[in-house]
């Protein structure tokens, strides 16, 4: 059936700021949906307050609204735009919940908006546990014994009847927030209470736990003709009990017979048909490892993280196809976009294996609870493809960029077997490395199977990995023969690992390997196991078999190094810049080659770059691609710190990088050289020194004078940064032994903080606007609220900021994009740091000023000058007749044990923006969703005390200050609005965490609190698309010129 021509315009709801459980995968699915709809000629209206996304670019949608994701804000947008249809299944749980609420509130009916794709009844049946359970009983599909409860008493009665373990799943939450498995009544009651509080409808499903069963997922698609296909199935290495987002997952399933595979597939097809879904759906099963008994455990009637993974794992673009199905097409009439010779109504056949590893945030939060369970904790993931299982695992762990060196996690080597066993029993995030360590020590597969219930198939694979290490150790670089070398490479041993094993350099290993002619081949991901010819250049490396890359176009080639897995401090914004760089390069006529390993992102959509390599971002893999493709130009500026960290090695290997050299990076990272540079340029810098050991640290900190800021060099997101106020505090920190040397010591200035993203051709710069942080220096830029343009800086301060940027750019001879951070104190502007790469704020600046920084930077990297680029020359800062507020979004409530104070260490996972005519309105929009949720709350709990002036101001806002009630009781009260704790004392951390667990805001900075209070002065929400704001800007610019 062809597309629905009664539709003209379609509203798409995005998933909002990145939080754990809802990350870049929804930018990927949303972008695909936008592209698919625009391809069909529809007007696309998009609402998403996450500026770091690619979907919110004006090229992908006709009207983009950075507005709060609430029912009334969306109703205002609907009233203004009058869309014919609404697509709600691409914005994660947020989008789905909003669609449901809009429907319930009668908004869709009022404005005649049709819900496209999966009908509302299907969403209800999939999401409402009771309705779903009833339907499954009707279909004869087994679900574990369960009950919907709305209070603790009902829950206890159920538990007494069926016994433990019991799993608790709150209704309508993302990433399973608030859920868990209880082994006893005490844990059970605590989890039920929490789950009820988390659920927007105060409902939990409690059910018999099938922990220990195999967890198998199917990605299913269905069209309106009831044609159903399964795109992919996946097997979790971790048995049921660990959230699939935190599990190590392989695709396709490895341990299921065809009988079992088809049994679950048939069930999945039956369920999606009965639900009446149109589009994509994720269905999760628990399968008894010792029989054909299975249970259905979850259905997500929308595209999901798993569907993003399945799309990258198979090449089948689920979201893109789902969008087409939503507007009326059937699978049989859509072409398979990978092969371009077959149709979308088939099931991909893989001739490789895929391994996904979660990226967990415990390198930043070592004191958080590392136990994995039903509540997702991962911030991102990596995917690896190979022809064999061993190398797929090796590639995946190499891609993690964690503390592990390949299969080794050094912190585990000091642990006893018992301690390692505890990591397995507790489902600690380090369990994979602990298993390998135990196998190294001779603990048997059988014993580990008993402890973990992980299938022996996987454990035997791990055992072979350990055997491989021993085989490598039995030879040396001089004695190894070609056969053994080939074998080790085929099974995934990295050059870096072999170098360490043989005590030689990685380069020596590489040279010997190449001498022997051992280089990777590249194989194609084609959806069909080579049965049909395929058109798409989507590749992975293998050390066995022929290289099957197609002839290149003959154009000059540019490699863009991606940013790897999403982690705190390096998020989706880097993907935004990478993708924009690709667009700019394509416009300039280059052949673009992307290397990345993150399955959630747009950059790893094979339809973006001309060639995609799904590979670890290690020096070895990047060099291999450069050599195989004979790439002339390499861009590292858009891949965050991941790409920057490769610069030294690439340069040593003779690769020429565009715009930057290792020497430039070193000048900026090496404190001594950096300060020397600033002094030469007559730019004030914060007094700072470097210490090589603890003794030097104490002496130099005293020399600078407290307070001081400590930080290691080359860090992402302020990892390991501390503000130290006294020698005693420093001594305590040294005692803890968590510092790494050399360490940088800066005077800590209690001033305003500002930053700027600039592009430069080496002589001139373009600096569209200055970003001013709301909080004082010392709060990580990623965790601070910030204004664009700067709101309180003097003209002179602004001029200095621009001037210093220009001096630095000119002196360095750097080309491309950089981010400079400043502190303004005592009337002076100090340069804090210079990052020679795209930063977190690039997409915000680009979207709200209309200056496409990443694209301009790319052109400059190719050798153009600013004067050659339209809009590249700008006198002074851009005019912005509106204010933009960037606000951080935290997921810390999903990470028990993390203290919600802000400081130099970044903790937020995402960000949003609001745009308004006044600061107050912008603040209002930023807190809008929170204030709506707390509509009946008016109590602020003060920990410690606050000054009388502030207290008086709070009272003028009709808020009550509460200090003298039991905190534990208060946080559960409906009246609880937020907590104020300006002293941030260590001892009060439990209170802050208790507030967090109830998802209450905790204000630890005066400036943030002031912003919040400002927000309360506004009562009206006005919605405006970004194009409307940019139009105002153009008008203002013309007025200036006139």
């Amino acid at each position: 059936m062809p597309k629905d021509s009664s539709l003209q315009s379609i509203l798409l709801i995005g998933s909002g700021p990145i939080v754990i459980g809802q990350a870049a995968e929804f930018d990927y699915s949303g972008t695909q949906a936008c592209i698919a709809l625009k391809e069909e000629g529809y007007r696309v209206i998009l609402v998403n307050n996450n500026p770091a996304t690619i979907m919110t670019d004006d090229v992908h949608a006709d009207a983009v609204y950075f507005e709060p994701l609430t029912v009334d804000a969306i109703e205002a947008i609907i009233a203004k735009e009058r869309p014919d249809g609404l697509l709600a299944t691409f914005g994660g749980q947020t989008g789905l919940n909003l669609a449901f609420q809009l429907y319930e509130a009668g908004v869709l009916e009022k404005y005649g908006v049709r819900l496209l794709g999966t009908p509302i009844e299907a969403i209800k049946r999939g999401e409402d546990r009771e309705a779903f359970r009833a339907l499954m009983h009707e279909l004869g599909e087994p679900v574990p014994e369960s009950e919907i409860v709305t209070n603790v008493k009902e829950a206890v009665a159920f538990a007494e009847q069926i016994g433990f373990p019991i799993i608790i799943r709150p209704a309508y939450t993302l990433g399973g927030t608030g859920g868990g498995i209880a082994e006893n009544m005490k844990q059970f009651i605590a989890l039920v209470e929490k789950g009820l509080a988390e659920s927007p409808i105060r409902q939990c499903l409690i059910e018999r736990s099938v922990a220990g069963f195999k967890e198998i997922e199917y990605e299913v698609m269905r069209d309106q003709s009831n044609t159903c296909i399964t795109v992919c199935n996946m097997e979790n290495v971790d048995p049921v009990g660990v959230h699939t987002g935190d599990s190590i997952v392989v695709a396709p399933s490895q341990t299921l017979t065809d009988e079992e595979y088809q049994m679950l597939r048939s069930s999945a097809v039956k369920i999606i048909s009965a639900l009446g879904i149109i589009g994509g759906c994720n269905i999760q099963f628990a399968l008894d490892p010792n029989s054909k008994q299975y249970y259905l455990i979850e259905v997500n009637p929308r595209v999901s993280r798993s569907s993003a993974l399945a799309s990258k794992a198979t090449g089948y673009p689920i979201a893109r196809i789902a969008a087409k199905l939503a507007v009326g097409y059937t699978l049989a009439e859509l072409i398979n976009p990978v092969t371009k010779t077959t149709y979308a109504s088939f099931e991909p056949a893989l001739d490789y294996v895929v391994v996904k590893f979660p990226r967990l945030p415990f390198d930043k939060f070592p004191h958080a609870d590392r136990k994995l369970g039903t509540q997702m904790k991962a911030t991102g993931e990596v995917m690896a493809i190979d022809r064999n299982m061993e190398r797929a695992f090796q590639k995946a762990v190499q891609s993690l960029e964690g503390k592990n060196n390949g299969l080794f996690l050094s912190e585990l080597s000091a642990k006893t077997n018992d301690e390692l066993k505890q990591l397995l029993v507790n489902k600690d995030d380090r369990r994979f490395f602990a298993i390998l360590e135990l196998l190294r020590r001779g603990v048997t597969v059988e014993t580990i199977h008993e402890w973990t219930k992980i299938d022996r198939f996987f454990l035997c694979t791990f055992e072979r990995l350990v055997a491989l290490e021993k085989q490598a150790a039995a030879v040396t670089l001089d004695t190894i023969d070609e056969t053994m070398f080939r074998f080790l490479k085929e099974k995934g041993a990295s050059d870096a690992f072999l170098a360490e094993t043989w005590s030689v350099t990685e380069l020596e290993v590489r040279n010997k390997r190449k001498e022997l002619g051992i280089v990777p081949s590249y194989k194609m991901v084609d959806t069909c196991a080579a049965e049909f010819h395929s058109e798409t250049d989507y590749y992975y490396s293998a050390y066995f078999g022929e290289d099957e890359r197609k002839q290149a176009s003959g154009k000059e080639k540019v490699l863009i190094i991606g940013a790897g897995p999403i982690r705190i401090g390096q998020g989706i914004e880097f993907d935004y810049s990478s993708v924009h760089s690709v667009f700019a390069l394509q416009k300039e006529g280059y052949e673009t080659i992307m290397i990345n390993n993150n399955p959630e992102t747009v950059s790893t959509d094979f339809a973006i770059a001309d060639r995609l390599y799904f590979e670890p971002l290690t020096l070895e893999s990047v060099l291999d691609v450069i050599e195989a493709e004979q790439i002339q130009h390499v861009i590292v500026q858009f891949g965050g710190q991941t790409a920057i960290n490769l610069v030294k090695g690439l340069e040593e290997a003779g690769v020429r990088l565009l715009g930057v050299t290792y020497d430039i990076i070193d000048q900026l990272e090496d404190r001594d050289r950096f300060y020397q540079l600033l002094e030469e340029l007559d730019i004030p810098h914060v007094p700072g020194l470097m210490a090589n050991d603890a003794e030097e640290l104490v002496a130099k900190a005293a020399e600078i004078g407290y307070p001081v800021l400590l930080r290691p060099s080359y860090v992402i997101g302020g990892r390991g940064m501390f503000i130290i106020r006294s020698e005693a505090q420093l001594a305590a920190l040294i005692e803890q032994g968590e510092l790494t040397y050399p360490i940088l010591i800066d005077a800590y200035l209690d001033g305003k903080e500002a930053e700027a993203d600039i592009v430069t051709d080496g002589t001139d710069i373009l600096l569209p606007t200055i970003i001013e942080h709301v909080e004082k220096a010392g709060v990580h830029s990623g965790d601070s609220y910030a204004w664009l343009p700067a709101q309180t800086l003097t003209e002179e301060e602004r001029a200095n900021i621009v001037d210093y940027a220009r001096r630095i750019a000119k002196k360095l001879g750097f080309k491309g994009i950089m981010n400079i951070q400043y502190v303004i104190a005592d009337g002076n502007v100090y340069v804090l740091e210079v990052n020679p790469r795209a930063s977190r704020t690039v997409p915000i600046v680009s979207k709200t000023t209309g200056v496409p920084l990443a694209q301009i930077a790319t052109k400059l990297l190719l050798g153009k000058s600013l004067v050659d680029i339209p809009g590249g020359k700008m006198s002074g800062l851009t005019v912005m007749p509106y204010v933009v507020l960037k606000y951080p979004v935290f997921s810390t409530y999903k990470l028990p044990g993390v203290d919600p104070t802000v400081g130099p260490e970044m903790k937020s996972t995402g960000e949003g923006i609001s745009i308004a005519m006044t600061k107050e309105e912008a603040a209002y929009k930023a807190f809008y969703a929170y204030l709506q949720k707390k509509a009946n709350a008016n109590e602020l709990y003060v920990i410690g005390d606050i000054d009388a002036e502030l207290a008086a101001e709070i009272e003028t806002k009709q808020l009550n200050i509460v200090t003298d009630v039991s905190f534990a009781d208060w946080v559960k009260r409906d009246g609880a609005l937020a907590v104020i704790d300006l002293r941030k004392e260590e001892g009060e951390a439990p209170k802050r965490m208790a507030a967090l667990s109830q998802q209450l805001l905790v204000f630890t900075e005066r400036e943030t609190l002031d912003l919040f209070l400002q927000a309360l002065t506004v009562g009206q929400l006005d919605v405006q698309p970004i194009s409307g704001w940019i139009k105002k800007k153009k008008q203002a610019e013309q007025a200036v010129i006139a």
């Binding site: 341990t255 017979t257 022996r456």
Partner: protein, 354 residues
């Protein structure tokens, strides 16, 4: 031990033997794209004398169990994989893949660049191949055997009881066809492929099933008049080779596809249900669409990928034939309804309705 796979196209692929190769083995080389189901494939009689290449790189993960056999023994001439698991990881496992094949003296060639091999077959078409320990290819003969004879039963056997009596004419039937009938309450008599019509009449069947089987349907030309006689008399379901024989019996023609359809993901349009079904397939030969012109058949099923004929119904008589495998094993079970439709016809004694 190293061994070599020589293709008639002139290419040679090398690999390591996981089971002994006593003397060189030759056969038609074909590939299967399903990611599970190697046990069913190995024991499917339709693969008689063929060298099977598995495109999925890890074969043998769950070993060989007692339940998933499609016949009493493996029929392939040899199996070619990238990696074969040394053990089987499954509660039902009885042998590892290599143990099982070794028992039946079937060579298992591992560590082959199966993807490159498949691309060669895709481009050159299904062809003869020879597995030998010598790197030098020998002159290859075209297939001359008559494989149906080798796999068809020699004596009648009856399964199940009560219900309609179905005669399953065995050209190399898969156990799952029998099970699909028995589990639906049929009494099934399996008869040799060359059983005389009179002998089948004597069984007083309520319906006939023409099974799948190996090779070129035209090798069975001599049987066509008998087949025509039978299918005109009884409600008939014909599967795979059986479907091709129905077409030939009515004077239509068959042809060989370049590299066949073998996998668990073939999309087939059902003109009655007006939707696409994902089917299990294993065939080299198809009914020529043009040759059905003027014949009393309507094409009900069409392959979405290449438009080939996947099934047809007689306009007046209760004859339904499908090129794909509604009995699945391996592969999706979505088209199991074909058996229900057939049995409804049997029950009514009426024609198969389009």
């Amino acid at each position: 031990m190293k061994a070599y796979l020589h293709l008639a196209s002139g290419k040679t692929f090398s690999g390591k033997l996981a089971t002994p190769l006593e003397k060189k083995v030759s056969g038609e080389i074909v590939f299967f794209t399903g990611m599970t189901g190697y046990q069913e494939v190995l024991t499917d009689p339709s693969y008689k004398n063929q060298i099977i290449v598995f495109t999925y790189p890890l074969i043998g993960n769950y070993g060989i169990n007692d339940e998933d056999f499609e016949s009493k023994r493996p029929h392939v001439a040899a199996a070619v994989v990238y990696e074969a698991s040394n053990e089987g990881f499954h509660y039902g496992v009885k042998y590892s893949l290599a143990e099982y094949l070794r028992h039946w003296n079937i060579p298992l060639l591992t560590h082959v660049d199966t993807r490159a091999l498949v691309k060669e077959i895709r481009m050159e078409g299904t062809m003869m191949a020879e597995l030998s320990s010598s790197p030098i290819p020998a002159v290859m003969d075209e297939e001359t055997t008559f494989p149906v004879c080798a796999v068809s039963t020699k004596k009648m056997e009856t399964y199940g009881q009560g219900g309609p009596h179905i005669v399953l004419i065995d050209f190399g039937y898969k156990k799952s066809i029998l099970q699909s009938l028995v589990s639906r309450g049929c009494q099934v008599t399996v008869v040799p492929h060359d059983t005389a019509p009179e002998a089948i009449d004597a069984l007083k069947p309520d319906g006939l099933v023409l099974s799948n089987g190996p090779g070129d349907p035209k090798q069975l030309s001599v049987r066509l008049p008998a087949i025509r006689q039978l299918i005109d008399r009884y409600p008939t379901l014909a599967i795979c080779l059986g479907h091709q024989l129905v077409a030939l019996a009515y004077g239509a023609d068959t042809e060989k596809l370049r590299f066949g359809h073998r996998g668990a993901n073939q999309p087939v349009w059902d003109a009655v249900k007006q939707k696409v079904m994902i089917t299990s397939q294993n065939h080299s030969y198809v009914v020529k669409e043009k040759s059905l012109e003027g014949k009393p058949f309507a094409i009900r099923f069409i392959n979405i990928n290449d438009g080939s004929v996947e099934g047809m119904i007689h306009r007046d008589k209760p004859i339904l034939s499908v090129q794909y495998h509604p009995e699945a094993h391996p592969g999706p079970q979505d088209t199991g309804y074909i058996f229900d439709e057939f049995l409804q016809t049997v029950a009514k004694g009426e024609k198969v309705y389009a």
